[in-house]
């Protein structure tokens, strides 16, 4: 196949020297992982090229944007909407603190949507500048792997250009999946949910994971009626069971109607909205139905099978501990490898990749004690093992310390919502194996705890830390209890 080397618009003859690649590294996908890997590799002296699909808030197989899911249709816009929604309950609580507000305060969804879009466009521009400042060459178009050292980019006008690269990094991320339920075309996924023209008055959400739970909180906070349908008895499968129950209670307390053990069997368009039928025979009416039933790696159009790159049965690229595929010159990081689908983990994988391949320091990403947060309202944040995991993995006894209390702010507002904090401790070594919290500011609070946990801090070390006048003060003085304890101070 003829290779065309396009450099500064001029065609150059194929060099007679030893094999010279166009790039030391070519990255497919300019999301969290791809951008990090590109920049850091370039900093180590590598000549880096990266391609990304054209920008739009709603992704398709051929539409994406620099910044990736996190910046354009994930973490960032999500958090913006959570902020927007949280104000709702804040304003309610303000009254007990003496503020005189109207009965109903107007919420202009279109204004928030507009500002959200402004922000993601701004960030998209910043990510482009980050790449150019690092000397990384950005190509707009769809990338495919053509050979162990060759990538083909289909430009917007349809022309295909090939680039040779010593190393190829696949960082194409993942996309929301739609279950094949009759009428599924009437439903939306998170992409659309983040860019809806109108705020739904009635929302039905199918899913029990963090995306489902976060949108339930967002729409409820903005005044919508929300029905959350999930297959298990509790949402957030995989998290600590006790904390899952806390989240379920909190969501219910906020007015979200929970439907455990429920799937949707049919969606039908009616004059009154979308009629949704559940497996219990129940019928719900909605303006919006959100499918938040999982995301799948973006590997279908990459031509990987033809090249011989192994995928697992979910379609994720199989990699070793260094993020290398079965082909020595092809690597993969981020959601496309379906390890831990979090931006900071993709960043870690990208950093390790750059160090390994160009920094001369083989580095394996460390997946132990990675903290994360679910931004329902109020949020859940966790690090380390759940109680169930600890019991499974520990040799001896496992101690669970929990503290359930009404946060100070609620004492005046009268909001009946408890904050729960939990530490899971190894009975033999006193090491804190896991920590979790459901309550306001949980994510901000958990970060520092994650540092201590990562380094093997013991419960005694937690206890010896003097506390401050915050929620957190209770963590250092949790009362021992096998199940639940009640801390009555403040």
């Amino acid at each position: 196949m003829a290779r065309k080397m396009l450099i500064d618009g001029e065609l150059e003859k194929h060099s007679e020297e030893e094999t010279r690649y166009d790039f030391d590294l070519f990255v497919i996908g300019a999301g969290s992982g791809g951008v990090r890997a590109s920049r850091f590799s370039a900093q180590y002296g590598a000549k880096v090229g990266i391609c990304e699909l054209p920008f739009h808030p709603i992704s398709t197989e051929v539409i994406g944007g620099v910044g990736g899911t996190c910046v354009i249709r994930g973490c960032v816009p999500k958090k913006i909407l959570v902020y927007g929604a949280t104000f709702g309950s804040e304003l309610e609580d303000a009254r007990s603190y003496g503020w005189e507000l109207n009965e109903k305060i107007d919420f202009n969804w279109k204004k928030l949507l507009h500002k959200k879009t402004e922000e993601i466009v701004r960030l998209n521009g910043i990510y482009k500048r980050l790449l150019s400042n690092a000397g990384v060459k950005l190509f707009e178009g769809e990338g495919k792997v053509v050979g162990p050292n060759e990538v083909e980019v289909i430009q917007l006008d349809g022309t295909k250009i090939s680039y040779s690269a010593k190393h190829i990094l696949i960082a194409t991320g993942s996309r929301a999946q739609r279950p094949s339920i009759p009428g599924q075309e009437l439903a939306i996924t998170s992409d659309e949910a983040l860019s809806l023209e109108e705020l739904p008055k009635r929302a039905v959400i199918l899913g029990g994971g963090y995306i489902a739970v976060e949108f339930a909180s967002i729409w409820r906070g903005m005044g919508a009626t929300v029905d959350l349908c999930f297959r298990k008895e509790l949402p957030l499968r995989g998290f600590d069971d006790e904390m899952r129950a806390v989240v379920a209670r909190t969501l219910e307390g906020r007015g979200i109607t929970m439907h455990p053990g429920t799937t949707l069997t049919e969606l039908v368009k009616t004059e009154d909205g979308i009629k949704v039928r559940t497996n219990h025979g129940e019928e719900l009416l909605a303006d919006v139905v959100l499918f938040a039933t999982g995301r799948a790696p973006n590997t279908k159009r990459l031509n990987l099978e033809a090249v011989g790159v192994e995928l697992d049965k979910t379609g994720a690229v199989k990699v070793d501990e260094y993020s290398r595929t079965n082909l020595p010159s092809i690597w993969a990081i981020g959601d496309v490898t379906n390890r831990m689908n979090l931006t900071p983990v993709a960043l870690m994988e990208g950093t390790c990749f750059a160090k390994t391949v160009f920094g001369g320091q083989p580095s394996k990403p460390d997946y132990s004690n990675v903290p994360c947060a679910v931004f329902c309202i109020p949020p859940l944040s966790v690090v380390g093992l759940s109680e169930e995991q600890a019991i499974e993995q520990a040799n001896g006894d496992v101690l669970a310390f929990t503290s359930t209390f009404n946060p100070m702010k609620n004492t005046i507002s009268g909001r009946q919502e408890k904050t729960v904090m939990k530490l899971v401790v190894d009975g033999e070594t006193d090491k804190v194996l896991g920590a979790s919290m459901c309550g306001p500011d949980a994510a901000e609070i958990m970060q520092g705890i994650a540092v201590a946990l990562k380094c093997g801090a013991t419960k005694a070390q937690f206890d010896s830390t003097v506390s401050g006048p915050t929620f957190q003060s209770l963590c250092s003085s949790l009362c021992f209890s096998a199940f639940i304890s009640f801390f009555t101070c403040l």
């Binding site: 913006i80 970060q447 540092v451």
Partner: protein
């Protein structure tokens, strides 16, 4: 803490923060038909109900522990005898934990001044208030009254607020306070308060007189409550400011008499008093002599925006460790990019260049106090910058900044110069 300190202060801070939240919410689509107004009496009534409830809880806690509570004024008669309103009680050990009280300098017109106790219970909200003082109490009340829409003027003797805090934090919080509309009058010492015929107050300082205040508050320090306790006659040694002198076990100069908390003027924070009390109980009754540990005690200032800190300031770190690496971040949080408000967050991490241990953390911005607590465990445990960096961030948060600081802003190295006894510093520009 419960009646006229930490708790009511925090409730008032919550109340006053809402005005900023109303502003923020506009950027997120919320719209108010009219500008929200605040009713001070509702707040104070609810605040008082809450502290009454807590008093009840504290009484129950004592009762449930089998402690006999005697209401009255206690006074020491001899090393084993306490007098409470005329009745005598003998004790093997006596613990003095009477705390401290606001101090107001004796200047002309000081009778018109309110202290923090009174400020928490004013009959009406100040229209225009002068707050004299630059410490945490002054700064917190400035934020409270400003948030509740009073016209706030702070008068400080120094050039910046919060003497003793990290210098960059002092600069940052001062700037943010100005941006919120608080006026800070620097290098001014109060000389007199004058009440005019219309009832308004004027504050005379070394720089001039400002009129028109509805209230003048002095937050000029707190002194230990040791007057009239019979201490001098029983032989308990006091420091110059009236604080009770104690050893590492909180024992006074009289072996059967002990003291903890603000009355000993060590670190005047509730959790430290709790630590001192807990350690004393262990020492006296669990047969486990325990010294309270004062290293890496975290604390917060509930200014707006608030401050969270643990460990050494940059100035202290340089003095104690010599070679330090300083990492800073100064950024606009996500919320502010939408609200359009000039809110920012400042973070500083100080690491020992030799051992990589994190010596101090200082943050100023929304949620700083909540963020600092977990990190305080790490700092107390002696963790290193490398440990911080190995921890994956929680996204999106402000806190994740503290585990993603890659490049030192400055590397400070002590270069000993020949022939001189003092060391010189060479600050290398950040690499």
């Amino acid at each position: 803490c419960v009646l006229r300190g930490c708790v009511p202060k925090k409730l008032l801070v919550y109340a006053s923060k809402y005005s900023h939240e109303f502003e923020e919410s506009c950027g997120f689509g919320w719209k108010y038909a009219a500008e929200p107004e605040h009713d001070w009496s509702t707040l104070i009534a609810n605040k008082n109900a809450e502290i009454q409830r807590l008093t009840g809880i504290y009484k129950s806690t004592l009762k449930n522990a089998g402690v006999e509570l005697i209401e009255g004024r206690g006074k020491i008669v001899d090393p084993h005898t306490v007098d409470v309103d005329g009745k005598l009680y003998s004790a093997k050990n006596i613990l003095i934990s009477v705390g401290g009280r606001p101090f107001i300098p004796d200047i002309p017109g000081s009778e018109y001044v309110v202290d923090s106790d009174a400020a928490l219970d004013l009959p009406s909200k100040p229209k225009k208030i002068a707050i004299v003082g630059g410490g945490y109490i002054a700064v917190e009340f400035a934020g409270i009254f400003n948030g509740l829409q009073s016209d706030v003027h702070v008068f400080i003797r120094q050039k910046k607020v919060l003497r003793g805090f990290d210098e960059e934090i002092r600069d940052f919080v001062g700037e943010q306070m100005l941006l919120r509309g608080i006026e800070i009058h620097t290098e001014q010492s109060p000389q007199a308060i004058i009440k005019s015929s219309d009832g308004s107050l004027s504050l005379k300082t070394n720089k001039g007189t400002i009129d028109g205040f509805s209230h003048i508050m002095f937050a000029t320090g707190r002194k230990p409550n040791t007057k009239n306790l019979g201490l001098e006659s029983v032989g308990v040694k006091l420091k110059e400011n009236g604080a009770i002198e104690v050893d590492e076990y909180s024992q006074t100069s009289v072996p059967s008499i002990w003291a903890v908390g603000d009355v000993t003027d060590r670190i005047n924070l509730t959790p430290v008093a709790l630590m001192e009390g807990g350690a004393l109980a262990k020492t006296l009754f669990a047969n486990k002599p325990t010294k309270p540990e004062y290293r890496a005690v975290p604390s917060a200032v509930f200014s707006q925006p608030p401050i969270g800190q643990v460990g050494l300031t940059e100035e202290q770190a340089i003095k104690e460790y010599g070679d330090v690496d300083v990492y800073t971040a100064n950024f606009r949080p996500l919320k502010a990019t939408l609200s359009g408000l000039p809110d920012r967050i400042f973070m500083k991490l100080i690491a020992c260049a030799k051992t990589d241990k994190v010596l101090g953390l200082h943050i100023c911005g929304e949620d700083s106090p909540e963020i600092i607590q977990g990190f305080a465990v790490a700092v107390k445990a002696g963790l290193t910058k490398a440990d911080f960096d190995a921890t994956v961030g929680i996204h999106p948060t402000a806190a994740e900044e503290l585990v993603t600081m890659r490049t030192p802003t400055r590397k400070l190295r002590r270069t000993p110069s020949e022939g001189k006894t003092d060391s010189e510093f060479k600050a290398a520009a950040g690499v």
